[in-house]
Symmetry: C2
Subunit: 488 residues, 2 copies
């Protein structure tokens, strides 16, 4: 009778339940051959004593082993390791410490070369103060109205059907609400069949690229371009071609020159308050671009994540509203209107595209959260969204004016920027201070500013977006104060 | 002065605002050359009259055109089409009807061959009664407790930080809660760094396959296998190899034979209550499979979507709890514990894999819904999840026994099935009735049964899963009654 209690070590500080530590250890002993098949096990009372655990704990371990088919109990004879286990050569199994451990690394190699790295920063809430990349003020968002809708939906059994599996395009209720919202506000003569609900604009970009791009296909983006989109396109194997962005948006002549040289499959563009430069594509260039797309037969992703927040006269309609051929995939999001973590956006496209992309979406995550989608639809219907947008336009316009004024007044000699027509940030070039140093110095003073290195893949910029929308006047003053102290 | 009013047709029934119909039409006229640059436009009052719209509507249209840069107003002279538009040859533009339309089809071709089709059925709530594929009873789910948590979170500003952008792995609060839950209940000695939160198990399968599979790589699945997983693997370009599934689960000898012939990259398996067959992989085979994975260096996706619902003695621990090498990617979901549309699941793996897969997740949809994740974490912490699981195990066990009894009694001579040890459905083979016919006849009587054709890609089965968990006793009786009437 082997000293089983010597083979079993228990770590009471471990997260793993003691009975599982015991049963796991014994499994390892059996597999390693130290506990031979047919071995009679000591009685539970006896072993419990020597292990100094409660007898029920040991019984639970024995139950576990029995349920797993490692041991069997014969009436009036006792408990034994079962006979019919496969004969395992000990060297066939790694020797493990009795205490259960979890592998540090995968046995198979994960091919790093296939992974496009996304930068991961320290979460902003760990800073005293943050100038973000151009995010909404979450303190103003109608989150309570949203959770109120969720709560009231969950109280009415008529909405139970939304707990079942649904369609990958999203619930029709929201698709209908959004299509008339987009008809009225953005001149998109679409029907619900032209809309798929996504987890934010990001999923729309990903699914579209995944559907249209084969490794090696050429795509066009702006220089600079929203770094998340560039990386996503690269993740799908696209060859990135960058064309300059000036005060009127992407240089369409440069696009045409590229089209003559290479077969372009897809062009990614933000037409309103481009990320990062905040410029808007001029009407002339929109028409030229649509013509080029028709002539050279490429798809356009019009990412319009920021449409709602335009502070000049009425905003220019999306390029998609002029698209007669069906070249434009129009993508929007609620991340800027509500809060980033709400993860809801939409893709607008001709029906054949929506159908195709919905199959892709099945593969990715099956469908969206139907209950959330219905709650959002109700926020549109009861006017909450519209009121909130109007309110935020006023607030953010004030904050833009105040913030740009502060920048001019305090550090106008050391940064250059244009006051944006819309959006939530200014694209500011730092003239004689290296941004990495500025970032460090600000950090020491408790201020976080955006990471400028994310653009360096395109070309090197000493420029970052300074988000003004999420900061009230007091915060703006403190932020700019620290910023100016961090400049030489 | 051309008769502009003749060129503008207004459809008051259209979803598009009238002023946008007018401005869009005029844009088309300008682009088509019918409205030449420099043309003087009629006064708003005059044109409003002839179009029979309110003058403000027309002014809004003119504002829109001006904002978009199509027209300009010269003081005391009037309003003109601007001079500096690009000279567009009319044939360069498709002739469009004045009324704004949206393209029926994309201009570019969407390559059907690259899209793996997922079957799309009629939503179950359109039927009087449904025998589903094995889904939980949504009427029993603690959705109200969940929305209560959401509501109370949204009322406390301390949780505001969860509205900001966060990490692709999910909020640490839930990762910590889940890792100790999985430690205690499933013998997984993991830490939060081994967990990524996903949108359901589906996203875990997709991201893992996307990360590990290159087109043409060989993967192994069971025959039969969960049809959603097979299609997802195909979507990533995998070569599917099917090995038989018998009463003890996947035939591991067949797996070994395949490993000797081909380089296997990945094996997908459901170890508990396999979908569709409901069988559980025996302990012997688990050990053999782990050894093969170590020997032939392939990854295993252990999809454990159903672990909580085992009705025999205590369930066998997941294979991942025995994994010493780091071959197993362990995937779980809350779809069966809460409701399918909640879209929350998790991937458990060594940290290097979690890091790699989190970059993939950034590309796909950036991150999950942080507020939801915190609410779910609280449901674990305050015991709601645990109570619900225990309650459902009792309820579903009763329903299984009752349902299998009914099947045996009413149509036992025309179907063959084994009473499952766990899960939410029985895998029933119809002996002398073609399932397509049965499906049709049941439908005529208001009963929906699962689609059997989804398995035919593997081999032809006249077998479907008959879900018992979502039907109370009355519903079970009516369902089986209709089913028996639909059999010859």
């Amino acid at each position: 009778m082997l000293p089983l209690d010597k083979l079993i070590t228990i770590d009471k500080s471990s997260n793993t339940a003691v009975y599982l530590q015991i049963s796991n250890t014994m499994i390892h002993q059996i597999r390693s051959g130290r506990l031979r098949k047919g071995t009679k096990l000591p009685g539970s009372r006896k072993l419990a004593e020597s292990l100094q655990v409660h007898r029920n704990t040991l019984l639970a371990a024995y139950d576990e082993l029995q349920a797993q088919g490692w041991i069997e109990t014969e009436p009036r004879k006792g408990t034994f390791v079962v006979q019919d286990l496969p004969d395992i050569q000990p060297q066939g199994i790694v020797q493990t410490t009795p205490k259960a451990t979890y592998p540090r690394e995968t046995a198979f190699t994960v091919d790093e070369s296939r992974i496009v790295q996304f930068p991961s920063g320290q979460p902003s809430h760990e800073f005293e103060l943050t100038i973000d990349d151009g995010f909404p003020d979450i303190r103003e968002a109608p989150i309570e109205a949203y959770t109120r809708e969720l709560r009231s939906l969950s109280r009415r059994s008529v909405f139970n059907k939304y707990y079942r599996y649904g369609s990958p395009e999203g619930v029709n209720y929201l698709r209908e609400t959004l299509s008339s919202f987009l008809n009225d506000s953005r001149g998109l003569p679409i029907s619900p069949g032209n809309i798929m609900i996504t987890n934010g604009a990001q999923m729309g970009i990903y699914l579209t690229a995944r559907l249209l791009i084969r490794p090696g296909d050429h795509v066009i983006v702006g220089d600079p371009c929203f770094w998340g989109a560039t990386r996503t396109l690269q993740q799908t194997g696209a060859e990135i071609n960058r064309v300059p962005v000036d005060g009127s948006g992407m240089d369409i002549d440069a696009v045409e020159r590229l089209c003559k040289k290479k077969e372009i499959k897809l062009l990614y563009i933000i037409t309103h308050h481009q990320h990062p430069t905040t410029v808007t594509l001029s009407p002339k260039r929109r028409i030229r671009l649509l013509e080029l797309a028709a002539e050279y037969d490429f798809a356009i992703i019009e990412d319009d994540y920021d449409y709602n927040f335009h502070y000049a006269s009425s905003p220019i309609l999306p390029m998609a509203s002029l698209d007669q051929h069906g070249n434009v995939i129009y993508i929007g999001t609620l991340s800027k209107t509500l809060v980033p973590s709400i993860r809801m956006g939409f893709v607008v496209a001709p029906e054949n595209f929506i159908t195709a992309v919905s199959h892709q979406r099945r593969a990715v995550d099956w469908q969206g959260d139907s209950l959330k989608e219905v709650a959002i639809a109700r926020l549109y219907e009861n006017g909450t969204m519209d009121r909130h947008i109007k309110k935020m336009i006023r607030l953010y316009r004030e904050r833009r004016d105040r913030f740009c004024g502060l920048l001019q007044q305090k550090i106008g000699d050391r940064v250059s920027f244009d006051k944006p027509d819309g959006g939530m940030s200014a694209w500011a070039t730092f003239l004689d201070n290296d941004l990495n140093t500025v970032e460090e110095k600000s950090r020491e003073r408790g201020l976080r500013i955006p990471n400028s290195r994310v653009y360096n893949k395109g070309s090197v910029y000493n420029t970052i977006r300074l988000g003004f929308a999420s900061l009230n006047f007091k915060e703006q003053e403190r932020a700019v104060e620290i910023l100016s102290k961090s400049l030489s």
